[in-house]
Amino acid sequence: MRFYEYEAREIVKRAGIPVTDYGFTRDAAEAKEIAARIEGPTVIKSQVLSGGRMKAGGVQFADTPEEAQAHAENVLKLEINGQMPRGILVDPKADIDQEFYVGVVWDGTAKKPVIIFSPVGGIDIEQVAEEQPDKVGRRHFSNILPFGDYEAKEVIASTGVTGSDLNKLVPIVTKLAKLFVEKDMTLAEINPLGKLKDGSFVALDAHMDMENEARGRHKKLLADLGVGDEETREAREPTPFELAGEEVDSMDHRGVAGNVTEFDGNLGLVIGAGGGSLTLFDAVRAHGGKPANYCEIGGNPSVKKSCGLAKLVLQKPGVDKIAVMMSIVSNTRVDIVARGVIKACLELGMDPAEKIAIFRIPGAWEDEGFAILDKYGVEYADRSVSLHEAANRAVQKIQGAAA
C-alpha cells in the first residue's frame, strides 16, 4: 500500500529523521498562510500517488505567499495521470549543498532487506546505478539480529563518503532501516536527502509502501494518518463493479470468490484459482477473446458466494456469456460452483445452457457437479480438455453468437 508524500514524510518524522517545516493542505488560502509562516521561497507539490509530477506541472515554485496561493489553486485543480491530488504540500525551498539518496527494499532472492545509499540523489536511483555504479552502495542486513550502526557506516563508506557527513548520515540511515522493519514496509526511500549549507541533513521527499498483509498490525499509525480501511491504494482506484465484487467476497468467510478486476470485453469470466485465473485470462486473450473481467474463486466458496459472483458478472453491461473455468480443484467442490452459477442464471431469468459458454472445472466432486450441469444442458469439460482448449471453446461460442 503506497503512502502519499505527506504521509510518508510524517512517518519519517515520527522515526526521528529531520524533515523540513512543511505544511499539508487541501485549500489554497491555507497554502498562503503556510507560506507566510515559512517566510521565504516555497515549493508547492501536488499530492498524488502517481509518478511524473514535475513533468505534469504538479510541482511549482513560489517566492511570496500570494504566489504560493496562486500556484496552489492551479495545482489543486490539475489531474495527473488520471488522479486528482489529495491536497498539496507547501515546502520551504531549502538551501541545498548536495542531494543524497537512501532507500531500503526487500531482496527476495537473498530474503533480506537491503539498504541502498548514494551521494548522488534527487534523480532515479536506477539511473545513478547505471551511470555511476561506484556511487551506489548496497548492504543486506539480518532479519533476526539487531540492526547495528556499523551496518549503516559500511554502506555509506562504500560510496566514498567520509568525515562529518558520514557521522551525520549514520543515524538517519539507521533510523530508516529500523522504520522499514518495524512498520512492515516494502519500500522506504528518502530522495533527495538534502545536505543544507550548515552541514545538517534533512529529508526533502519520501516514498513509503507498506505491505498490505501487515496493515492490521499498524492500525494506530494508519488511523493517525487518516488512511481508511477501504483505501486500497492500488495503481488505480477500484471501480464500482470491483467494489461490488469485494462485497460478494465478504458475504461469508468460506473460500474466495472475488479479486475482481474490470475489463471492457463481452466474455464474463468466473475463473480460479490464483494460478489458474492468470493462465485462463491469458488463454482467453490468446484465442482472440475479450474478457469482461478478471476474478478468482478458490478455497471452497459457498454456493451463495459463487452465485453472487456469477450474478455480478452476468449483469455487467456488455457481457454476452460467461465462462466458468478453473484448474483442477482439490479443495473447492465442483458441484458447489456448478450449483452457484446455475442458480445465478435462473434467478436472473437466464437460460444456463445459453449463458454459460463452457464449464471446465475438473476435480473434487466432479461427477456430482457434471450431473447438475447435464440437467440444465450446460456444456462442460473434464481434465481431458486443457485450460487453453476450454478458453478457445468459450471464445468460439461467443464469437458465433456475435456474428
Binding site: G108, E213, E234, G272, G274, G275, L278, R383
Partner: protein, 306 residues
C-alpha cells in the same frame, strides 16, 4: 527416489484441529503407503485425537511422545501465529516445514527463513499446498483427497516446481495423461518471499537419479526466474527444464497484483516478457500452453540422451 520426503518421513500438523487441517490430515493418512503423521499440535487440546492422530499442546510434547526426532511439520495456523509456530518447530529439531498459511507479512517470513538457515532446516511456502511423491507420500493439501490425488499424480521421472498450488496438480495431471510420471512435485508458494525457490530446489533434483527433467510454473513478479536461469548456467545442470509462464497480460498493468501476493510488476526485470527472455537465454524451453508441456519434456529428455 524423491526429494525432501520419502516413505520413512514422519511429520506433525500444527493447527491440526482446524477444519481444513482435519481434512488435510485425513488426505495425508490415506495417500500412498500412508504418511506417518505422528502427531498434531493445537494449544489447549492435549489428549484429543484427529483421525487417530494424537494431539498435543506443544511441539516438544509431540517429539517426546514420538521418542525420537520428527522430520517435518505442516503449519496451518492463522497468519498472526505462524511465525511463533514455525520457530517452535525449528527449535524442537524439525528440519522440514511446509507452511500452508496465506497472508503472512514478508518480514515474518524472512525471519523464519533466516532462522531455518541457521539451524539447517528448510521451509517450503508459505501460501503453498506442500509436497507429493506419487504413490508414496503427500505432505500438505496438494492434490486433495487421496482418490483425487491418484488421478493426477503417477510415479515417474519429472520433477515439478510451481508457484501455484492448483497449477502443480493441473500440470502433473497433464503429464500423467501423456504417460509422464513425476518424481516429486513441490508447490513452493506464491508469495514475494518464500522458503525455497526454484534455484534452491534444483540441487536436490539434480542429485535425484530418478529425475530426468523439470517442469516449472512461473508468474510475473520477483526475480526467482532470473535466479533459476543463473543457477542453470552456473551449474551446467544435467536436467532439461520446461517452463510455463502465466499472467502475461499483467505486463500491461504495472503496479497491480493478480493471483498471488508475489505477482506485482514493479520494474522491467519482473515482467513476464523479461522473464521469458531470461529463461530462454539459459536454454529453458518456455511452453505457450500447458498441453504442450508433455511433448516438450519428451523432446528435451530425448535431446539430452542424444
Amino acid at each position: 527416489m524423491s526429494i525432501l520426503v520419502n516413505e520413512e518421513t514422519t511429520f506433525i500438523v500444527q493447527g491440526i484441529t482446524g477444519r481444513e487441517a482435519v481434512n488435510l490430515t485425513r488426505e495425508c493418512l490415506d495417500y500412498g503407503k500412508g504418511a506417518k503423521v505422528v502427531g498434531g499440535v493445537t494449544p489447549g487440546r492435549l489428549g484429543r485425537e484427529v483421525h487417530g492422530v494424537p494431539v498435543f499442546d506443544t511441539v516438544a510434547q509431540a517429539v517426546a511422545h514420538h521418542g525420537k526426532p520428527i522430520d517435518g511439520s505442516v503449519v496451518t495456523v492463522p497468519p498472526a501465529f505462524t511465525k511463533d509456530a514455525v520457530v517452535e518447530a525449528i527449535e524442537n529439531g524439525i528440519k522440514l516445514i511446509v507452511i500452508v498459511t496465506e497472508r503472512i507479512p514478508r518480514g515474518d517470513v524472512a525471519q523464519m527463513v533466516e532462522l531455518a538457515n541457521l539451524r539447517g532446516a528448510r521451509i517450503i511456502g508459505p501460501n503453498c499446498l506442500g509436497i507429493i511423491v506419487p504413490d508414496v507420500i503427500k505432505m500438505g493439501g496438494i492434490g486433495g483427497p487421496a482418490k483425487d490425488a491418484a488421478k493426477s499424480y503417477t510415479p515417474g521421472s519429472v520433477g515439478v516446481i510451481s508457484r501455484s498450488g492448483g497449477m502443480t496438480t493441473e500440470m502433473s495431471s497433464t503429464l500423467t495423461a501423456a504417460g509422464l510420471g513425476q518424481s516429486t512435485a513441490v508447490s513452493i508458494g506464491g508469495d514475494a518471499i518464500i522458503g525455497s525457490s526454484y534455484a534452491e530446489l534444483m540441487p536436490l533434483f539434480e542429485a535425484d537419479e530418478q529425475t530426468e527433467a523439470i517442469v516449472i510454473y512461473t508468474e510475473p513478479g520477483g526475480r526467482m526466474e532470473a535466479e533459476l536461469a543463473k543457477w542453470v548456467k552456473d551449474n551446467n545442470s544435467r536436467l532439461p527444464i520446461v517452463a510455463f509462464m502465466a499472467g502475461r497480460f499483467m505486463d500491461e498493468m504495472p503496479g497491480m497484483s493478480f493471483g498471488h501476493a508475489g505477482t506485482i510488476v514493479e520494474g522491467k526485470e519482473d515482467t513476464a516478457t523479461e522473464k521469458i527472455a531470461r529463461l530462454a537465454e539459459a536454454g529453458i524451453v518456455v511452453a505457450e500452453e500447458i498441453s504442450e508441456i508433455p511433448e516438450l519434456v519428451k523432446q528435451a529428455i530425448a535431446n539430452r540422451k542424444g
